[in-house]
């Protein structure tokens, strides 16, 4: 066991935990005031449900001994054999419990990311059941494929901190969900204007802060790779903010605060798969291009006609895909990408992108169908008009 690494990853775990309430604020500020609590709750509840599920069954499915490169076995069911020492720990320098809880924070935030797609119209009960099933049937296998010794890892796919596991998987589910559930009442006819952009900016800032734990912590050690991931994450977000605002200024005339926040998050997403594999200069390039591409990504929904309320597909999907491919282009630390003479790495990344989107979209669709059949995904029209705060939680966010 390495005590410096242990101390560092303990702190990183706490940083990643803080991203989920950060995400809650980021999302809630973009909704209308009658849905502020409903939206916050959709993220915050994940700290409850996903943590418990992860401890009982999620962790073992993701990191238990490999079964056919597809899923983990039940050897760590209910955390048996996950102890204070390094025995069986996938990271030999860290207590097994610490590795487990660090991964738990990723399992918490990933289903929360999806909620942005169906904000303002999904039943809370349906969300709870869908997210629980999703953790078991989508997240755990994806996590096993990439980090638990599954087929993507064996193929040599590079995903430093979760471009496929976290961002593409949640975006594919988000796309399935917003198509399946349908558009919000009045979508396209009335304006759905964010009710509190300072809240969104605060949320984006907390995400940025927590992301240092997410990406640097994914080095699983307090070392140079962690430092590099920290630096590339920061520069990626910074450059993406500039890329987004530049396109926005050209396209619609003014740089907006929502654009600055969105661009930064897009950059953080894009750097997630690449963080430990690229140089700081490459991260600026990846971020800058990522910001521009994600701006185009959010415009896609009006072209294709789906109502992805808070642009999960546009930012996490497009950003995560770009990041995964960019890793295959610009990787130079610990692996080499196309630019450094290894086109095969780019092809591996491409396969992982297609497989992730395909698997996560299809299984999410099936889960949505099951939940819709037995519970019903969408609130009634009256409940939607009254807002989820009152109709789902009997509370209101603001007393005027």
């Amino acid at each position: 066991m390495n005590f410096a690494d242990t101390a560092f990853i303990l702190i990183c775990s706490a940083l990643v935990m803080f991203m989920t309430p950060g995400l809650a604020l980021f999302y809630a500020g973009m909704t209308r005031s009658k849905n502020v609590l409903g939206t916050v709750m959709q993220s915050f509840i994940m700290l409850g449900i996903m943590s418990v599920l992860w401890a009982i069954v999620g962790y073992t499915l993701a990191f238990g001994s490999d079964i056919g490169t597809l899923i983990g076995g039940f050897d760590f069911f209910a955390l048996q054999g996950v102890g204070m020492d390094t025995v069986n720990s996938p990271a030999s320098n860290l207590p097994h419990l610490l590795f487990m809880i660090f991964q738990c924070m990723f399992a918490v935030i990933t289903p929360a990311l999806i909620t942005g797609a169906f904000a303002e119209r999904m039943k809370f009960s349906a969300l709870v059941v869908f997210s629980s099933l999703w953790l078991i049937f989508v997240y755990a296998p994806m996590c096993h494929w990439v980090w638990g010794g599954g087929w993507m890892a064996k193929m040599g796919a590079l995903d430093f901190a979760g471009g496929a596991v976290v961002h593409m998987s949640s975006a594919a589910a988000a796309l399935a969900a917003c198509i399946y559930i349908g558009k919000r009442k009045g979508y396209g006819r009335e304006a759905f204007i964010p009710h509190n952009l300072p809240m969104t900016l605060l949320g984006a800032s907390i995400l940025w802060f927590g992301w240092f734990g997410f990406n640097a912590g994914s080095a699983l050690a307090a070392n140079g790779v962690a430092a590099n991931a920290f630096v590339t994450t920061h520069f990626g977000a910074a450059a993406a903010m500039l890329g987004w605002l530049l396109v926005e200024k050209i396209h619609s005339g003014k740089p907006t605060t929502l654009g600055a926040a969105s661009g930064a998050v897009a950059g953080l997403v894009a750097l997630t798969p690449a963080a430990g594999f690229v140089t700081p200069m490459a991260s600026i390039l990846i971020g800058f291009i990522g910001g521009m591409i994600c701006y185009a990504g959010v415009l896609l929904k009006s072209v294709l006609g789906y109502d992805d309320s808070l642009d999960v597909v546009g930012i996490h999907g497009i950003g995560g895909t770009w990041g995964a491919l960019a890793t295959g282009l610009f990787a130079s630390i610990g692996a080499e990408g196309l630019v450094y003479g290894h086109p095969a790495q780019f092809m591996i990344q491409l396969v992982s992108v297609i497989a992730t989107w395909g698997y996560c979209f299809v299984v999410s669709w099936i889960l949505l169908k099951i939940v819709d059949r037995y519970i019903g995904l969408r609130v009634s029209e009256e409940a939607e008009v009254n807002g989820l705060d009152v109709s789902e939680h009997s509370e209101t966010g603001y007393q005027y």
């Binding site: 304006a191 204007i193 964010p194 926005e248 619609s252 005339g253 907006t256 929502l258 654009g259 415009l299």
Partner: protein, 112 residues
Amino acid sequence: MKKIEIIVRPFKVEDVKEAVKALGVKGMTITEVKGFGRQGGHKEIYRGAEYRVDFITKIKIEIVVEAELVPEVIDAVRNSALTGKVGDGKIFVTPVEETVRIRTGETGRDAI
């Protein structure tokens, strides 16, 4: 007695208040209102999507004065609220049948 209803730009409220106080007007009521006139609304942009906001925030001032004071008040309001740009607002004058001061029971001109 007349009620003068004045719609002005929010940043002009203080100027209007000072101008009509100088004429001896003793009270006024203000409300934040939203609406549109010839100025129309404005454009807001969220993640590249443009929304037209038709209703712009204005302040409505209500003053009740004796009929003979009305022309002076109108002049004072016009002078103090004018920027010359579209969207400066409107003044409406309507008759008031009765006024009662709740504390004393005084009515009419004494109650203004």
